[in-house]
Symmetry: C2
Subunit: 165 residues, 2 copies
Amino acid sequence: MTDTTHSEATKKMWSMIKGIGSAMMTTEDGGVLRARPMVAAQDDFDGNLWFFTHASSHKVDEVQGDQRVGVTYADPSKQDYVSLSGQARLVRDKAAMSAHWQESLRTWFPKGIDDPDIALLKVEVTAAEYWDAPNSTMLHAYGYVKAVLTGSPPNPGGNEKLSFT
Amino acid sequence: MTDTTHSEATKKMWSMIKGIGSAMMTTEDGGVLRARPMVAAQDDFDGNLWFFTHASSHKVDEVQGDQRVGVTYADPSKQDYVSLSGQARLVRDKAAMSAHWQESLRTWFPKGIDDPDIALLKVEVTAAEYWDAPNSTMLHAYGYVKAVLTGSPPNPGGNEKLSFT
């Protein structure tokens, strides 16, 4: 993929992510893959996803045991799907928290970034794929299979693979 | 959780899954967690999810290397989220394929279950969780955090953890 195409595909993917809103973040938990809904706190995408979290939460234990995470966004009504793969790490830097803070988060964290348990989970995205099939699940899924088998993007609808490393 | 509660929670979860339709299935692929959209081919749920696939597809290689999969269903517009954890295995038994076959699958598999490359991915679900928060992302996500910290289901909206083993 050329740089221009990569940039366009990343822009398209971020537009899908913003439209969908909530992610499911998959981690490894004692030998099983487990996911929970999360919302990224950022206005644009430079290769990282940022999620506020409670540092004492179980998912933080999980990523400290195994930093690999999968983040998915899905809107079945539009047949829009995004899969991002990355490495998560806990960030407790006040400047980073301040940069990502949104007032709507205060329901979770009444004390804001002064909450002693607040932290960011930074996901450094290493690869991503998206599916954007306007017509039907069939075409979309066929597209995926075709993409996997041949390495070429399906038509109609798009499946793009992106690498960020 | 009592058997009755487990049964009701499972029924609720399956209703959410049917309403959402498409899953994202996460597997481990060469050290990273990677997901792709899939649609289960079944009318009810007895602890297993069944997906038709091409036996030669890359995801089949992945589950043969590491049988653990995570399956998520998400409808951000309703704040409905389901996370299922399980073990996947390839099933090429004709009777099982016939039992799950749906004519709508013919777009993928023109030859139906006589396609030499058709197979089922059977996911034996070992645990599942769902989130069903009617009010807002905030309550929903707070609910999740509360559930993780205290082990009790959040209110309003529900977070139920189910075990199938």
